[in-house]
């Protein structure tokens, strides 16, 4: 079961996604600006911000304990680990031999646990409010994600992400009504998890998702922000791997130059799909007004409804 090749592939993929995540977020920012008729920042502004923050002095409040200082590392490591599990460009889960989709969802919970705790740590009001909102959104969205993933898993007969991805890609699981509904529900959940309007403004501090960041500064802030970018990218990758894996490589792999060419094609397909998702997210975000936070549940119930319908259609075999 132990495979060095897959381990290296997973780590490489996690690092690549880490490097790419700020760019994707920057891409969404640029499109948002264009839709506002603003010029907007450069595509690479996020990287500049991160590098600048790394060099800044850190300030801690006297109330914070070691948990506050360790959280940026914990969150980033958890997100990197989750990234290494998701089939990317190939219908194989690189670390599928040590965990399945349940683990990936609970790795998100690990990151969120410490993220929320860090909001309480410093004793900052915004941090605390951000923490409790983050956890409420999790309670509303996590069941939707797990139910839709489990519908796919039931169709595939396995909770192994690679198996699900391969079966969808090969057409062994055709696009039933339940898959379409599941896709809709999961896309919605992913959209919420990315911290977008109408519930959230991922760019704005004192706002919801970045609430717990209120007290962070310097390199810790840089790592936390990077962790959030990575989380967005990982969620989108997960969505694509389970619901839209077309264009991905499928084992057995060809040899020689064909492999190189096929890999490049698969990566290009992946990038296109990711950018399309970010673009659609940016459009949706622009088209929506800000909603009072406590009204969020009215919308998330709809996504739960879609997930339930997906399940009902799965039961009825359509």
């Amino acid at each position: 079961m132990f495979s060095i090749r897959l381990l290296l592939m997973g780590l490489l993929q996690a690092l690549a996604l880490l490097a790419l995540a700020p760019l994707l977020s920057g891409f969404a920012r640029v499109w948002r600006a264009k839709m506002h008729n603003r010029r907007g920042p450069s595509l690479f502004q996020n990287y500049r911000d991160l590098v600048k923050l790394m060099k800044r002095q850190e300030v801690f409040s006297a109330q914070a304990s070691w948990v506050f200082r360790a959280t940026p590392y914990i969150v980033l490591a958890a997100m990197l680990l989750a990234a290494a599990f998701i089939p990317l460009g190939i219908t194989e889960s690189p670390l599928g031999w040590m965990g399945d989709l349940i683990l990936v969802i609970y790795l998100f919970a690990l990151a969120r646990f410490f993220f929320a705790l860090s909001g309480l740590e410093a004793g900052n009001t915004f941090g605390g409010i951000g923490a409790r909102r983050e956890l409420l959104m999790a309670a509303l969205v996590e069941p939707v994600m797990l139910l839709t993933l489990f519908v796919m898993a039931l169709l595939a007969g396995s909770t192994h992400l690679g198996v699900i991805s391969a079966k969808v890609a090969s057409g062994a699981i055709p696009y039933y009504t339940s898959v379409w509904l599941g896709m809709l529900a999961f896309a919605f959940a992913a959209f919420v998890e990315m911290g977008k309007l109408p519930f959230d403004l991922a760019e704005a501090e004192q706002e919801l998702q970045e609430g717990p960041l209120a007290e962070y500064s310097g390199r810790s802030l840089a790592l936390m922000k990077w962790g959030l970018y990575l989380k967005q990218a990982v969620i989108v990758t997960l969505f694509l791997a389970v619901f839209l894996p077309f264009g991905s490589l499928t084992p057995p792999l060809p040899a020689g130059w064909t492999l190189v060419f096929a890999t490049l094609m698969a990566l290009a397909a992946f990038l296109l799909k990711v950018m399309a998702f970010y673009f659609i997210a940016a459009v949706l975000e622009n088209a929506m007004a800000r909603v009072r936070f406590l009204k969020a549940s009215a919308v998330t119930w709809a996504s739960l409804g879609a997930a339930m319908l997906a399940f009902v259609f799965y039961l009825a075999n359509v």
Binding site: S65, W66, A109, T125, A138, L146, A214, G218, A296
Partner: protein, 674 residues
């Protein structure tokens, strides 16, 4: 020594300890130190007994007995040995912890408290090992009684007495149901031995009746909703070292009873029994976690969280029962394995968290989360132990809580992909519930840890708290290490637990673990390797460190400011988000769940008022009954007493005659039966 003899030795040590503590009662300090160390020794022997039973399955031990309907049999099969091991480890932690913890009860009879604690542990050990329903019931009642005295230990507090009363009421209602179930068994088996129960030929109706009686009887003790009402009060009132036992292993004995009587002795269950178990499991999971979230009393919060976890365990048991009923050995195995694994894990982390709550109570003299805060800096080791417990409670990988919830997911998944519309519809919905409960449990855990240990101190005591004494830390660290070991050691532990289930329910053998992996019967379905995940996760910390180092981040300085940023206003501690304001969005969003409780409370209040109106009438009726019934009763008893007095002639020869007469009667009875 044989495992059963070792267990008896451990029980004997606990018994001696109980008596010694009673004798040492006047010497406070000696009593608590000696009793704690002796209890740790006794627990150690208990752990040895359990380990011994796992390696060499002992033959049941039959002791001679005066009653024809019940042989005193002791047996340690896998299930019993697992329970005995659990009770011993929790007993060990609790005993060590109590050495310092009891120091706060300077003006109280510590010896008496130790007497009941040790008797409680000894009785639980006997309970899980006994192989006869009659003695099971006796130990069950005695255990309830011992724990009742633990609940009302702080008897000057009104809420302790109320909690104890309610506990007694529910426990006895449960015991009555269990007793009825046993009598139906006895009716057909003619004997109270488990072996006879197992072979009894029951009609389907009486089987279902036994199942329902035993399920609700044991469920009352395990705290399934809506029979959980006694738990928050009782756990909050009990001294924490004992509350950690009540919440973990006493609950485990109830689940043990459920498994033993509803599944093992009754044999192959009906599908709808599994449905009943799943329904109450789902109800407990949902209600428990929602009610836990809005508490601010730490121990009540933990109690509600116990309701949730009992629900999770029942989800496993229910899945196992459905698998058993529909002859799917893998589903059966996974369901029961997940339930046992989660029971074990729950004992460890809930025990740990109760010890932690006790440590906070010991230093701060409060259980109110709003009066804590900032304790991670004052009590760093307590904070680390509590954090491990909270992470396990929230099922965060790679801790033990996650591994057993993973097995519950896999059991539900495997069952849900099986044949039959009912399972295909219901089990995935349980997955949905599990996901919701998981997310809310994370919120509960953040609220508990964050409220107590993060942010600014919200009271004078919190600002000046000292680290817990060493013995208490040692008790907590035993369980915290256990939580880590049970998570990371899953590949080693799973085969043993699988063996227990396979042995108890006569299933065909199946592999669930290999090397450093666990899997739900088939590797194609899923693989999980907690140790690899832990190593890789820790290894990945190097990535952010390397990035920061690469950009020269570690060259920049850091400084500490007195207060967090407050929009430019002067910061004061009440600005921080307290434990009670933490759950506000949940209360608003899920208001329906809480309305239900308010409605129920109102209903109960109406019942209470009506009962209050009835009281004068009842009082009159009572006095009337007394005036009518008492004189004749008293007269009869007096008359009988005088008659009986006539037998006592004070002549030794007449007494000898009585003895001979009785013996002859007994002999006749015995021979006529033979």
């Amino acid at each position: 020594m044989d495992a059963i003899h070792l267990l008896l030795f451990s029980v004997l040590l606990f018994g001696l300890n109980a008596l010694a503590a009673l004798a040492l009662n006047p010497f406070q300090r000696v009593a608590r130190v000696a009793s704690g160390l002796w209890g740790a020794l006794a627990s150690g022997v208990g752990v040895l007994a359990a380990l011994q039973a796992f390696t060499h399955a002992p033959t049941p031990l039959e002791l001679s007995d005066p009653f024809h309907f019940g042989q005193f049999i002791l047996q340690l099969d896998g299930l019993s040995a697992l329970m005995a091991g659990m009770i011993s480890v929790l007993g060990l932690a609790s005993s060590v912890y109590s050495i310092s913890y009891l120091g706060q009860y300077a003006q109280r009879p510590i010896g008496v408290l130790s007497f009941f604690t040790n008797a409680f542990i000894a009785l639980m050990l006997l309970l899980v090992a006994v192989g006869n329903a009659f003695y099971f019931l006796i130990f069950w009642e005695m255990m309830t009684l011992a724990s009742y005295f633990l609940v009302i230990f702080e008897d000057e507090k009104k809420e302790s007495l109320q909690a104890g009363y309610l506990y007694m009421l529910v426990a006895h209602a449960g015991a009555a149901l269990i007793m009825l179930a046993f009598f139906i068994f006895y009716w057909s088996a003619g004997n109270f031995d488990f072996a006879a129960f197992r072979q009894s030929q029951l009609s389907p109706t009486s089987r279902s009746l036994i199942f329902l009686l035993a399920f609700f009887g044991f469920g009352a003790k395990a705290g399934i909703a809506p029979l959980h009402i006694w738990m928050p009060g009782a756990y909050a009132a009990t001294p924490s070292h004992a509350a950690s036992l009540l919440s973990s292993v006493m609950k485990a004995t109830a689940v043990y009873g459920l498994l033993r009587f509803c599944v093992d002795l009754l044999g192959t269950p009906e599908v709808w029994w599994g449905g009943v178990v799943l329904f109450f499991g789902a109800l407990s999971t949902g209600l428990g976690v929602f009610y836990a979230l809005t508490e601010r009393d730490l121990k009540r919060m933990l109690a509600y969280s116990s309701v949730e976890h009992v629900g999770l365990i029942l989800l496993g048991i229910g899945t196992g029962m459905i698998g058993f009923a529909t002859h799917q050995p893998l589903v059966t195995l996974l369901g029961f394995l997940a339930a046992l694994y989660h029971l074990l894990n729950h004992s460890f982390f809930k025990g740990l968290l109760f010890l932690g709550a006790g440590a906070l109570d010991y230093r701060l003299h409060t259980r109110n989360l709003n009066a804590m805060g900032g304790l991670a800096r004052r009590m760093p080791w307590t904070a680390v132990a509590f954090l491990i417990g909270a992470l396990a409670l929230a099922a965060i990988p790679p801790l033990n809580g996650f591994v057993s919830e993973w097995f519950i997911y896999q059991a539900l998944f495997t069952g849900g992909s099986g044949p039959g519309f009912f399972v295909r519809a219901v089990l995935p919905l349980c997955i949905l519930l599990l996901a919701l409960a998981g997310a809310l449990a994370a919120m509960v855990a953040v609220k508990m840890y964050g409220g107590a240990f993060s942010g600014p101190a919200r009271s004078e005591q919190a600002a000046q708290a000292l680290e817990s004494p060493n013995a208490m830390l040692a008790g907590m660290l035993i369980l915290a290490t256990g939580c880590l070991a049970l998570g990371l050691g899953a590949p080693l532990l799973t085969p043993y637990l699988a063996q227990v289930v396979i042995g108890a329910f006569n299933l065909p053998p199946a592999l669930l673990a290999e090397g450093i992996w666990v899997y739900p019967g088939a590797m194609e379905q899923a693989l999980l390797s907690p140790p690899l995940i832990a190593i890789l996760w820790l290894g990945l910390f190097s990535v952010p460190v390397a990035i920061v180092a690469l950009y020269g981040g570690y060259k920049s300085t850091s400084r500490v400011v007195d207060a967090p940023w407050a929009c430019g206003y002067g910061y004061s501690n009440p600005m921080s988000v307290s434990a009670s304001s933490f759950d506000q969005p949940i209360v608003v969003t899920f208001s329906g769940v809480y309305t239900l409780r308010t409605l129920l409370r109102r209903l109960l209040a109406v019942v209470g008022v009506t009962a209050g109106r009835l009281r004068p009438g009842l009082a009159r009726a009572e006095s009337w009954i007394e005036s009518v019934l008492r004189p004749p009763t008293t007269r009869t008893i007096e008359y009988l007493g005088q008659r009986i007095q006539a037998l006592q002639m004070g002549d030794i020869r007449v007494y000898c005659l009585y003895i001979v007469f009785t013996l002859a009667l007994l002999l006749i009875t015995v021979f006529s039966r033979g």
